[in-house]
């Protein structure tokens, strides 16, 4: 099988996204914020459908209704936890209350990651083929608690290993139809990379930060692989430190000079930068992908992740 290059593109434009944000704003105000899940769906639909792979767009098939239900459940969950916390305080057990709060936070994060990936992947479709996330919730929780524990007792040094283990677990459980991802990043390499980035950034008075970003991006992308049977697609970053410099400084200037109104343009620039700088090649036939992941419509985890305010990052 001959090797082939595959192309990812982002075709969206700032004005369209700006319009979506304005409309979302209007409808959010009119509905006193209840429109939020539908607004989120519209935005994601726009971003997905303007991202193409091999000239075919992705589709986000999640709906506002699903995310609204998830949002209500997530809120109830948080309220329940808060009630338990207050009850413990009321019982004059402040130590237990604090312990409960930390335990809750440490458990809710993996729960939210799991739910979020499960929902988002099931709602990601390309060429009619659904993605999927087949990770196990308990295992992710164990991995997470272990990571938090070792990170604390090593005063943060284990963080690099924790981060890579988490990424490996999540990425390797992502499916694209009947194809699966492989992630080969290691804690030790990641640690050295960050150590180097940290010191060089200090020495260069911050200038190196763009090259540090480039190396991080490269490390995430170059260690990624897509497998189906014995066929593989390799990923390679083309991003340069200069590229990151003009992206990040440009975004900052846009936000400053438009008083924040230009935010959609920064989103578009970032997505375009990401798509343009990810190169894929290999002997893989995407046409042969088969529908093999089930649909999953519970958005509770995704909404929890939203409430906790951590971005959706692979």
């Amino acid at each position: 099988m001959e090797e082939k290059n595959f192309q990812l593109s982002f075709l969206g434009n700032g004005m369209e996204l700006f319009k979506i944000q304005i409309i979302n704003f209007i409808l959010n105000v009119v509905t006193l914020g209840l429109f939020y899940p539908w607004a989120k769906a519209r935005k994601l639909q726009y971003i997905y459908s303007n991202t193409t792979f091999e000239e075919h767009p992705f589709a986000f098939t999640g709906t506002g209704k699903e995310m609204f239900k998830g949002f209500i459940k997530a809120i109830l969950f948080f309220i329940a936890a808060y009630a338990i916390f207050l009850f413990l305080v009321y019982l004059q057990m402040p130590v237990w209350a604090i312990l409960f709060l930390y335990l809750f936070l440490f458990l809710i994060i993996p729960l939210a990651i799991h739910g979020s990936y499960k929902y988002r992947m099931a709602k990601t479709v390309w060429k009619g083929i659904r993605f999927g996330y087949v990770g196990d919730r308990t295992e992710l929780m164990k991995l997470f608690l272990k990571g938090v524990f070792f990170t604390i007792i090593t005063l943060g040094f284990y963080g690099a290993w924790f981060s890579m283990n988490l990424r490996k677990y999540v990425v390797e459980n992502i499916r694209m139809g009947d194809a699966n991802f492989v992630y080969r990043g290691k804690g030790s390499d990641f640690f050295i990379l960050n150590l180097k980035g940290y010191f060089l950034t200090i020495i260069t008075l911050g200038v190196y930060i763009f090259w540090w970003q480039k190396e991080l991006f490269e490390y995430y992308i170059n260690n990624l692989e897509l497998n189906r049977e014995d066929k593989r697609v390799f990923f390679k970053s083309k991003a340069t430190g200069g590229g990151f410099f003009s992206l990040l400084v440009g975004n900052l200037l846009i936000v400053i000079f438009t008083l924040g109104l230009g935010f959609p343009w920064t989103v578009v620039r970032t997505l375009r930068f990401g798509a343009e700088n990810i190169m894929m090649y290999g002997g893989f036939e995407f046409d042969a992908l088969q529908q093999s992941q089930i649909d999953y419509s519970n958005a509770t985890g995704d909404d929890m992740a939203d409430i906790l305010d951590f971005g959706f990052v692979i």
Binding site: I20, N50, G128, R130, L289, Q291
Partner: protein, 357 residues
């Protein structure tokens, strides 16, 4: 009825199939290449949605977007097919999406204006009606305790001034309770529900007891006319609007506490000030005190203002205008004949107060 050949993805494999497509007003029909009419799939246009990217329209045939056809923009029936789907989609969102950005921008501006007017002009009067005098008094007490926590209260002067106030009839509805705060600031203000705060700085500036009665009557009128409650509500709703638009939820809860502190520096509108002057002078007349005290008070403060323009907080929170001075003058002229001697007890309390510092 339109008939054309398109690429079809069936949601089982990522492989395209050539199919024949028929489109009428309401639906899309797909047939395999052999055009076997029995094997047709029929999809209602209302179930379809599409994306146009570069030279192709991707028309999704189900909600899960797993089945779709590709219609190139150079297909002779492209316009008809797309406008058919467009016509069957009449959602709010789609209508808004078709507007120009400046139309949307105008809608946003209009919306902000409407929300602002609503929260600024409609909500406070309603809230004012809903809050009973009893609730207002207990709210005022809460504000008062949070306020006095950071101030040095002059308790002996407070005792004397409270006695002075008790000898006057300043309010029929609210218990008027005064507090003297040790501070050189030339200021006084009213909290909702009857607490008046007077700084030693302003007492020092006054030359006769009529001025003190004028000050207390003026502040008591702010209480009686619920001015401070009104301004708290207005500020509260405007900080709510800001939090709504900036999505700053914590700002909403912070609002109330901030507003208590705002009262100290809050300036009332001209109308409210004039109303408090007039009501205050009526109270003075009711208490058989010559309303000319109001004019004296204003003159004293203005004189001081000319000497140290930045020194008098009272003037920035109670903007003194020529109109107000003229108004006080006119009012008091009507009562020139009111020449009763100043109440003895009040007079001795006044001297006690002046000496207490």
């Amino acid at each position: 009825m339109i008939e054309t050949t398109v690429q079809y993805f069936n949601g089982k494999f990522a492989t395209p199939y050539q199919v024949k497509m028929e489109v009428d007003d309401k639906s899309i029909q797909l047939y395999d290449a052999s055009y076997n009419a029995d094997n047709g799939v029929c999809i209602l246009l209302t179930k379809c949605h599409y994306v146009v990217l570069k030279e192709n329209a991707f028309i999704y045939l189900n909600e899960g977007s797993t089945e779709y056809v590709i219609v190139p923009t150079n297909n002779e029936h492209y316009q008809q097919i797309i406008s058919g789907i467009k016509r069957s989609q009449k959602g709010w969102y789609d209508i808004l999406m078709r507007q120009k950005w400046y139309t949307l921008f105008l809608i946003v501006v209009a919306l902000i204006a409407v929300v602002y007017l609503f929260l600024d002009k409609v909500v406070p009067p309603i809230a004012l009606k809903l809050i009973s005098v009893k609730q207002e008094i207990s709210l005022g007490n809460e504000f008062y305790s949070s306020f006095t926590a950071n101030e040095e209260v002059d308790s002996s002067a407070t005792f004397i001034l409270q006695k002075f106030t008790d000898d006057l009839r300043l309010s029929d509805q609210y218990p008027i309770r005064v507090t003297v705060v040790k501070d050189t600031v030339v200021n006084a203000f009213a909290l909702p529900g009857g607490h008046l705060v007077v700084y030693t700085g302003i007492i020092k500036q006054m030359e006769n007891p009529e001025e003190l009665v004028a000050l207390l009557s003026h502040e008591a009128s702010h209480v009686n006319k619920r001015h401070s409650l009104k301004s708290i509500l207005t500020r509260l709703t405007s900080s709510f609007i800001v939090s709504l638009f900036t999505k700053d939820i914590s700002g909403m809860s912070r609002g109330l506490i901030d507003n208590v502190n705002m009262l100290r520096v809050l300036s009332y509108s001209r109308e409210l000030e004039t109303e408090a002057d007039n009501e205050g002078m009526k109270l003075m007349v009711r208490n058989k005190v010559n309303p000319v005290g109001m004019k004296f008070l204003m003159e004293d403060l203005q004189k001081l203002h000319k000497e140290i323009p930045q020194g008098i907080s009272f003037l920035s929170t109670h903007p003194l205008t020529n109109e107000r001075m003229k108004n006080a003058d006119l009012f008091s002229k009507k009562y020139m004949q009111l020449n009763e001697p100043f109440n003895d007890e009040l007079n001795s309390l006044w001297h006690e107060l002046k000496q207490s510092r």
